[in-house]
């Protein structure tokens, strides 16, 4: 009779190999886990004291019925974030709409992003309705700009803000084309993609974003969806809110109340 105890058959080899491999994998992942979390803690510790990105879900609401088109938001944004002073670079801007009839003719203008105010537009005379719409990055939950970034320089932070890592951005402009809201531009000084950060340096310190801070009528409201005390909940509950281009399913985090169908 053959003794099969010490002989390495295919079956016993596979058995042994499976055990060793799974044990090895568990050991390595077990050893790596504290290293990983330590790295994460380091990244968190560099943030302003006591700020936990996972504890927030920032969003903004804009009440069209309150916007007076003073353009203070655009001015404040430029001052706060060192946005290039030359025209046509904006992280936030205001648009003026003129609509005739049920949308048979629509005229949109935004002279210098509205930061110098809106001079009378003769072409808009006789419009049936006219209103101002502040625009900014929508901080989409499924942001197209994030999806097209080839290097992972654009990302959505744990607190729901779409940001650009300018040290990592290669300035390929994919994101500028991908954004359906036209919220991105290439900063002529750094030659990297630039956009609204929802004033990340302010909100992490407990301040309001600059645009919401200076808005004289309270048309812009900033809030935290994860904070039950945030006034944003009452706003979203009491108003009929809409987002821009909902058919694109980007799930924006900028909510508009009183939005007209002509606003794109």
């Amino acid at each position: 009779m053959r003794k099969a105890v010490n002989k390495l058959t295919r079956r016993s080899f596979l058995k042994l190999a499976t055990r060793w491999i799974s044990a090895g994998t568990l050991l390595v992942t077990g050893l790596m886990a504290p290293l990983r979390s330590r790295a994460k803690d380091k990244a968190l510790a560099a943030l302003p004291k006591g700020y936990k990105p996972t504890a927030h879900e920032w969003c903004m609401s804009i009440d069209i019925e309150k916007c007076i088109g003073c353009g203070r938001c655009g001015v404040a944004c430029k001052a706060e974030n060192d946005v290039p002073k030359e025209p046509y670079f904006f992280r936030t801007w205001v648009e003026r709409y003129f609509v005739w009839g049920t949308g048979k003719k629509t005229l949109v203008d935004s002279p210098n992003g509205g930061i110098d105010g809106f001079p009378e537009n003769r072409d808009g005379r006789g419009a049936d309705k006219s209103f101002y719409v502040p625009k900014m990055c929508n901080h989409c939950e499924h942001s197209p700009c994030e999806q097209v970034c080839p290097v992972g320089a654009t990302f959505r932070s744990p607190d729901g803000v779409v940001l650009v890592d300018k040290d990592y951005c290669i300035g390929c402009r994919f994101c500028v084309q991908a954004c359906p809201y036209g919220c991105r531009f290439i900063n002529p000084e750094t030659m990297t993609a630039d956009k609204c950060t929802m004033c990340y340096h302010r909100i992490t310190k407990g301040l309001l974003p600059a645009c919401a801070e200076v808005c004289p009528t309270g048309a812009r409201m900033f809030g935290d969806l994860k904070d039950a005390k945030s006034p944003i909940h009452a706003f979203l509950a009491k108003n009929k809110v809409q987002v821009l281009k909902p058919h694109l399913r980007t799930h924006p985090r900028v909510f508009y109340a009183g939005l007209d169908k002509e606003v794109k």
């Binding site: 990244a43 560099a46 309150k66 088109g69 990302f155 932070s157 990340y200 340096h201």
Partner: protein
């Protein structure tokens, strides 16, 4: 090849969060104003115009707050000599109808005074300045 902190939170550099957060604020926020200018902030809170922050009219004042102990205090912008009220209160058909608007040329011509000679910008809009 993989940069430090890449993948800590997702497919990006985790340290980028803190780097973006290091930018210095230019606007101090109204709580900072209330620390010294309590009476003005309280007057504003009791007025009908509760919403405008101090820096809406006075401009970014974080430097003013930072250098407050300095002798050479950077003063916030004084809007009074300018026609500042026009920015928001000029008649504009695109503005919401409920928002108080006035034709400044007519109004000033009629009264012969500037806005703040009668209206106190820190108080109720109908309250006349003493």
């Amino acid at each position: 090849m993989v940069p430090e902190s890449f993948g800590d939170f997702g497919h990006y550099r985790g340290n980028a969060l803190a780097e973006i957060a290091t930018h210095t604020p230019q606007f101090a926020g109204r709580q900072a104003c209330a620390e010294c200018h309590e009476e003005v902030v309280n007057a504003m809170a009791n007025a009908t115009r509760k919403v405008p922050g101090c820096e809406t009219c006075h401009g970014p004042s974080a430097t003013h707050v930072r250098l407050i102990d300095d002798e050479d205090v950077f003063p916030p912008w004084d809007p009074s000599p300018n026609q500042w009220c026009v920015t928001c209160h000029a008649t504009d058909p695109s503005r919401p109808e409920a928002f108080p608007q006035v034709d400044f040329n007519l109004h000033e011509k009629k009264s012969g005074k500037t806005c703040i000679q009668c209206h106190d910008p820190h108080k109720h809009r109908l309250e006349k300045k003493k």
